[in-house]
């Protein structure tokens, strides 16, 4: 029965026939719906929650591409870090959602124009790429695994990235020290 069904579909058309393709379309649909909800919902906390679901769905998309560490980093950084702090900030603001902003028509028009231009540019740039729908995977086996990833990240060979890594870590150290300096009590304040 399944065989006859799949025979109905012409072979050369890129159409969801496998489990991975179907999963891709389902995940993309979820990303789109949650992304639209993020900007459309009136309550700002609800939009933060939809943003989280959108990020999680993006992580699942990375999983489908076999980039496991990127997916986990996405969940770790965005769900566990960024959005939690956004939620924290929202919770600490008083009078939440009382003055829901009204959207005026020129803004809607500008948004439509911008998004149509964006879609046109994307289509123009993406369609000429060869093998976009039926290309073969070029990366070797285990290219995105944690071990290979870490060895590349900390390697000092030709494709090693140890210098950018160290530069970023110095930046992180700077932000940490800055945060401590800001949060720290002054001497006069402590004596009070």
């Amino acid at each position: 029965m399944l065989a006859t069904l799949s025979n109905l579909i012409p072979q050369n058309v890129a159409f969801p026939t496998g489990g991975m393709d179907l999963a891709f379309y389902v995940v993309t649909f979820i990303i789109l719906v949650t992304a639209v909800c993020t900007v459309a919902v009136k309550n700002i906390l609800q939009s933060a929650v939809f943003l989280i679901f959108s990020f999680v769905a993006t992580a699942i998309l990375y999983l489908l591409l076999h980039a496991e560490f990127t997916a986990l980093a996405q969940v770790m950084v965005y769900v566990g870090g960024v959005v939690i702090f956004v939620v924290f900030t929202i919770l600490l603001t008083s009078r939440l959602g009382e003055d829901a902003f009204a959207v005026k028509i020129p803004r809607i028009f500008a948004a439509f124009a911008l998004s149509i231009i964006f879609v046109l540019v994307m289509v123009k740039c993406l369609l000429p790429i060869e093998g976009l729908s039926n290309g073969v995977v070029a990366a070797p086996e285990g290219y995105a695994s944690l071990k290979a990833f870490a060895l590349r990240l900390l390697g000092y060979g030709e494709d090693g990235l140890v210098i950018p890594f160290e530069v970023v870590s110095i930046l992180l150290l700077m932000t940490l020290i800055c945060a401590i300096t800001i949060a720290r009590k002054g001497k006069e304040e402590e004596e009070k």
């Binding site: 489990g19 991975m20 986990l72 939690i84 939620v87």
Partner: protein
């Protein structure tokens, strides 16, 4: 057609038997695709049942155990009337809880109010799927077990924050903010200790971590590195207690100050879900401690062959559950023994003591790995 399948001995066994059984079906229904789909569905169902059985099944046992341990510490008897030594009491409580009417306070954000308990349950269920219960008894033997655990822990904070905010109650909001700040802070040292374990074992897969502790008791990570392993274990114990919001770090709930914290306004099934998440977190954190430090599913061999052969006849599941329940007993004894610190003391303890000690421990572990390991 591509059908996802997980390579696994138990799964292989089912994949082997499904075609043999489908040979009895009528001719038209036999096809390789259908067989692989059926095998995949059966495997998935088995995984779901296994995780649910461990998680939901252990909750009533833990509630009964908590009551008895608490009673023991406070020189009471605990539940005694319903069933033998009150064993039916928790089941009666669960039934009572499930039949209560579910309602939300007026002015509450209904959507967030009912979504929050479900979000809290995500993390414990995912972590339970990663724990190796025996050489072949693991639901998801993935390469990145430890990063996965650190990643999904964020959902717990999220659920508590949402639950506290959507209740439209200032005590709930205060409790949620406190517990969010606490869990975010202690997550850092929690992740650091797991990093220490990863450094010693050289792998992020929980199966490999458990396998690396094969041998005698001295090969367990708690004893493998002299002193450092034990310190790491104690730090893990402290940070996981705070991570779970259990006493003495239960400033999120603090009955005396906050009337119960983030779940003040919850009742019936949503409250049961918060409660369930708390107790499943107890199981998963104990299982994590047992896997990372106490040898996982390996028997506590002592190097004497006559005794070791008998110890190894006991299946690994039994050993793991013995270790898990020992850890849970430790968590419960700590809960009913120590006093609760103040909020600022708790945060000072994390940022000024636990985190620096963790960093030193990590460096010392690296030095040990270079010169000895």
């Amino acid at each position: 057609m591509f059908v996802p399948s997980i390579t696994h001995p138990v799964g292989d066994f089912i994949r082997e038997w499904v075609p043999k059984l489908s040979a009895y079906l009528p001719e038209q229904l036999q096809s390789q695709t259908l067989d692989s789909i059926a095998a995949f569905l059966i495997n998935a169902l088995l995984c779901v049942i296994a995780v649910c059985a461990v998680n939901i099944g252990s909750a009533p046992i833990l509630i009964y155990m908590e009551r008895k341990v608490c009673a023991h510490v406070q020189c009471r008897l605990g539940p005694m009337r319903l069933g033998w030594h009150g064993t039916l009491q928790t089941i009666a409580d669960v039934i009572k809880m499930l039949f209560k009417e579910v309602y939300s306070p007026s002015g509450a954000d209904k959507l967030m109010f009912y979504v929050a308990p479900m979000i809290v349950l995500i993390a414990p269920f995912i972590i339970a799927a990663l724990i190796p219960f025996d050489h072949n008894l693991i639901v998801a033997d993935i390469d990145m077990g430890i990063p996965m655990i650190i990643a999904v822990n964020g959902f717990g904070v999220l659920g508590i924050l949402l639950g506290g905010w959507s209740s439209n109650n200032k005590y709930s909001l205060l409790g949620a903010l406190r517990s969010g700040a606490q869990m975010i802070s202690y997550e850092i040292s929690f992740a650091m200790i797991l990093l220490f374990v990863v450094m010693i074992s050289g792998s992020t897969s929980l199966m490999d971590i458990a396998q690396a502790q094969d041998g005698t008791v001295l090969d367990w990570f708690i004893f493998k590195i002299p002193l450092l392993g034990f310190i790491a274990f104690i730090l893990f114990f402290i940070s996981s207690t705070a991570e779970m919001n259990r006493a003495p770090f239960d400033i999120a709930e603090a009955e005396q100050e906050l009337t119960g914290g983030y779940h003040t306004e919850y009742n019936g099934t949503p409250f049961a879900m918060f409660y369930l998440a708390e107790y499943i977190a107890l199981v998963t954190n104990s299982a994590l401690a047992a896997t990372c430090f106490l040898g996982g599913f390996h028997a506590p061999c002592i190097g004497v062959e006559a005794i070791d052969t008998y110890l190894q006849m006991v299946p690994g599941v039994v050993w793991l559950f013995a270790k898990i329940y020992f850890m849970i007993w430790c968590y419960m004894m700590v809960r009913w023994t120590f006093v609760r610190p103040r909020v600022d003391q708790l945060m000072d303890f994390e940022w000024k003591f636990l985190l620096p000690v963790n960093l030193v421990l990590l460096a010392a572990g690296a030095v040990w790995m270079i010169f000895v390991g």
